[in-house]
């Protein structure tokens, strides 16, 4: 369900982090669902376990995932309730990354903004479908 693309400029840990966020956002990984262990995911993706660990750590810090000692790692029960200032800071960082990408692709401003709207619509539509539909 997760794939690593070596021709993607993002670091591998970021691809894993973003991939899990995406699966959670569109409901393919529902709240409470267990995620593979670091070792199993590293083996599946043929990447260094430290890379997976870094992605999981960031997802745990952001409370997308939770660790239950001795049981494993799970999708958090509800979207993390971040303080608004913290949420806005993270959002700003992500927006800057997206804006840089859009600029380097030469996308005019309305096109870049439009693409964000479409992506939000797509995620919302994905949520209403049965989870795990099109991996």
């Amino acid at each position: 369900m997760l794939r690593i693309d070596p021709s993607d400029p993002r670091p591998i840990w970021r691809q894993i982090e973003d991939g899990v966020r995406h699966l959670v956002a569109r409901g393919a990984l529902p709240p409470g669902e267990s995620v593979p262990s670091v070792r199993d995911l590293a083996r599946d993706l043929q990447v260094n376990p430290a890379t997976v660990s870094k992605a999981y750590q960031r997802l745990t810090d952001d409370r997308v995932l939770v660790v239950h000692r001795g049981e494993g790692t799970f999708v958090a029960d509800r979207p993390p309730a971040l303080p608004e200032t913290e949420r806005d800071r993270l959002l700003g960082e992500a927006a800057l990354r997206y804006a840089s990408r859009a600029t380097t692709l030469g996308a005019p401003r309305p096109v870049a903004i439009g693409a964000v709207g479409e992506a939000l619509d797509e995620l919302a539509a994905g949520r209403s479908e049965s989870p795990g539909g099109d991996e």
Binding site: A42, V47, T103
Partner: protein, 317 residues
């Protein structure tokens, strides 16, 4: 990452120089491998990889420079330092008439920490028969036996010299899966030479690229991936001079003229440097894409005929 157990890094090479007669095989090579990291050394055949590995294993005394494992000089303390290192040589060797089981029994006697059960499990995962004489195994199976033997005493460090050479795709994957398992369980430090660039892309923390005996690159893979890009310009207006000027800041490694336009691989990409070029119609609607390690490697080790491009290697700080 937890703090290192000892202050001495697992591996350091300082100024290693090796000559065969008048030919220089290694020219002042320096680098280090940090505890718990995976270092991949790449180079075309004849670049000096074998000479380097021979120095690291104390099989060759360098003309100048030193190789240290865990802070001790390998040449003068070979037997002692190699106790803590698992080695998979390029040409795995063992008495050809002994079966794998007999070799394991022998190894267990000389290595107090030899994990026999773990060894047997690995052999089963590799699908290598334990009762066949070593000499009758295929090249791939010999390599797998060598890896299982290297891992069995729970070494602090692994040195692997092209461990997948001659293996089919399935066996190659099994070797890297074993390595990934080892990294997950024990965080073993790994130094490997390989031609398996796709696998390196997934597991290496740091990459060294040797060319003609010199270490051209010694850098974190993430940093390399960050600064190299392939750029395409379809039919730039007046062509070459404008384009070359525009590209200068991005330190092009290769610039190739093609029928449809110009393609360049640059070594100093950043969003800030690229942004002013991205929207320039006179450069022919530029496109940018990430470069796989394989393309980056080939661009550095076999640069095409110079077209005003300059290689900008960047060594360790």
């Amino acid at each position: 990452m937890s703090a290192p157990r000892t202050p001495a890094p697992p591996l350091t090479a300082a100024g290693l120089t090796v000559r065969y007669g008048r030919r220089i095989a290694l020219d002042d090579v320096s680098f280090g491998v940090e505890e718990g990291s995976v270092y991949a050394l790449l180079g075309l055949n004849g670049a000096g990889k074998s000479s380097l590995v021979r120095c690291l294993l104390g099989l060759r005394r360098p003309e100048s420079g030193t190789a240290k494992l865990f802070g001790r000089d390998v040449w003068s303390h070979r037997a002692e330092v190699l106790q803590e290192v698992g080695v998979v040589p390029e040409e795995p060797d063992a008495p050809p008439t002994l079966s794998v089981r007999e070799i394991a029994r022998f190894s267990a006697r000389i290595h107090s920490k030899f994990d026999r059960a773990g060894f047997d499990q690995r052999l089963r995962r590799f699908g290598v028969p334990a009762d066949v004489p070593f000499g009758r195994l295929s090249k791939g199976q010999k390599g797998q036996v060598a890896l299982a033997l290297a891992l069995a005493p729970a070494p602090r460090m692994l040195i692997l010299d092209d461990p997948t050479l001659g293996l089919d795709a399935k066996a190659r994957r099994s070797v890297f899966e074993e390595l990934i398992g080892e990294l997950a369980e024990r965080g073993t430090t790994v130094f490997l030479t390989t031609h398996e660039l796709a696998a390196v892309e997934g597991i290496a923390d740091r990459v060294g690229i040797l060319r003609d005996g010199r270490l051209l690159i010694d850098e974190d893979l993430e940093s390399l991936r960050g600064r190299f890009r392939r750029l395409r310009f379809t039919r730039p207006n007046d062509g070459e001079a404008t384009l070359d000027r525009a590209l200068a800041d991005l330190a092009p490694v290769t610039i190739e003229r093609r029928a449809w336009g110009v393609e360049a691989i640059v070594s100093a990409f950043s969003e800030e440097r690229w942004a002013p070029l991205a929207g320039r119609a006179d450069l022919g609607s530029p496109e940018v894409e990430a470069v796989r390690l394989e393309d980056l490697f080939l661009a550095l080790v076999e640069p095409p005929a110079p077209t005003g491009a300059s290689v900008e290697p960047r060594g360790a700080a």
